[in-house]
């Protein structure tokens, strides 16, 4: 019986240590022709390798596409992958945006501390240490804020007046300030609750080359300047974490922002 109990505990412990992972939008093409239908698949994974996530009303708070000044809903079939479809109507940059509802997540203390370190959230570790809570398991709610830039029929630097630099107004968001499909260097800004977020870790990774990776902290104005070393499909991501409001069943709220594009 002792052995069975030990096995059950070991197994249960493994169940509880599932790691939180990146979330991004992967369109069927980043360079559609005007009028072309593009599917937008949602992905969960790491190192740009992920599982398709079918459309689920249970998770989606908003799923829209912006072209110029117009914003419309991304349509799709419930419980189906790809989660959404977009028809690009005009030349220029279109931006797909996805905002999730809150989801509960639990991590054991060791995994949580490891994760905080990995995502550059040492200040949360410090708060836990200060409160003597380092050994306390994590109870959090996580939110996804994913964006993807489609480049429809544009070459080089022109952007057709598309307002890719306008925030969607997500609670946490990566906002490109220069054209992600063309500008070198690329400047992006982190906004948390509408204000620049300084000192946050930003990671840029190339889909087909794990070595082409940049990890950099945002400056006082919430900006990072990225010299992306090669062309191809890129993801820029950052994770923000704050204490959960009192009276909820979570201790922390994590916010996962990503931006995918091809250059």
């Amino acid at each position: 019986m002792k052995r069975i109990a030990a096995v059950v505990i070991a197994v249960a412990a493994q169940t509880a240590v599932a790691h939180a992972h990146d979330f991004w939008i992967e369109p069927s093409t980043f360079r559609p022709a005007v009028g072309q239908m593009v599917s937008a698949s949602l992905r969960v994974g790491q190192e740009f390798e992920g599982d398709p996530i079918p459309r689920s009303a249970q998770f989606i708070d908003s799923f829209t596409v912006r072209e110029g000044t117009k914003e419309k809903d991304v349509v799709g079939f419930e419980n189906r992958d790809p989660a959404g479809y977009v028809r690009v109507e005009q030349p220029g940059l279109a931006v797909i945006g996805y905002r999730s509802k809150a989801n509960p997540l639990q991590l054991d203390a060791a995994k949580f501390e490891e994760f905080l370190k990995h995502e550059g959230l040492e200040r949360i570790s410090a708060i836990r240490a200060q409160r003597h809570e380092t050994a306390k398991p994590d109870r959090e709610r996580f939110y996804r804020f994913a964006k993807s830039v489609l480049n429809a029929g544009m070459n080089g630097g022109a952007n057709g007046g598309a307002r890719f630099d306008q925030p969607f107004g997500y609670r946490f968001e990566i906002v490109p300030e220069t054209n992600p499909c063309a500008s070198t260097p690329l400047r992006v800004r982190l906004l948390f609750e509408g204000k620049p977020l300084a000192g946050a870790l930003v990671t840029a990774m190339h889909r087909d080359d794990a070595s082409a990776r940049i990890r950099i902290r945002s400056d006082k104005s919430g900006r990072v300047t990225l010299n992306l070393p090669k062309n191809g499909v890129w993801m820029i991501k950052s994770v923000q974490m704050v204490p959960a409001p009192a009276g909820t069943d979570a201790d922390w709220e994590s916010m996962w922002a990503s931006l995918t594009f091809e250059r």
Partner: protein, 316 residues
Amino acid sequence: MGLAHVRALTLALLIASVASAHEIGTTQVTARFNRDHTYEIDVVTLRHSNDFAQAAEIRFGGVRVNPEVVVLPNNTIRFRGDIPKNAGPFTWRWKLTYASYALTIGARQEWLDADATSTPFPLSADVLPPSRMDVVRQYLKLGFTHIVPGGLDHILFVLGIFLLSTKLRPVLTQVTAFTIAHSITLGLTIYGLVSVSPRIVEPMIALSIAYVAIENMTTSQLKPWRVAIVFAFGLLHGMGFAGVLKELGLPRSEFLTALVTFNVGVEFGQLAVIAAAFALVAWWARTKPWYRPRFVVPASAAIAATGIFWTVQRLM
């Protein structure tokens, strides 16, 4: 189970039931445990890998097994293999997903997050491979009952052998030849080295019954060709036994045990027929002058007639 263990288990179950959820992905996993003591786990996934076997952790009682991997259409990867003897509870872990997915085992469904391990699933007794002793008991019985009371044709053939002579030696010689022969073809057929259609074997078995009975009416001497013919017929009967044994099925874990004990069971069945015949009739009647004309000949005639009838029937 001590109180400490109860507490440990309760705690473990509490931890296990905690929701720790990624988004729900497209992965689906279904596990089946079959009565032929095999498991099959179907994973529907859009992920690709050169090493699916490495991505799946299938354990019975904590011991990892090495499944066969089959890539099926519709994005399905099937893992299959034999359930080990004395298999402990089944656990599953899939390392090729970062999303939540459902593991379905019969009516049970468990949501697993990314590469989490499932809660142990105890297997029901009917899917666990039987022990060697279980197999011995079961196949001895199957072999015996295939003769008595199941196989009237085999009973008649054995009686035909028995009726030839009142002496023990000719009976034993024939029985030995018959046994060796049917053991050979039973084994060869089961292992697939020999394959003769039942449409040929079954009428020939019937014909063999008629033959020995007819010869009984003409002689009471054990001719050398009689032994050879009984041996040849034994080869046919062995194929018949193999057909039956194939229908019954052999446990893969105890294949040879089942084969041998079935054959031994058949042997016991035949010896029981001879022993019964000897006890009922021959013991006192064999010395009587009327035994051959009044008993052996009419009985053989009846057996021959039955054999011929079956031959015709089985040919049609």
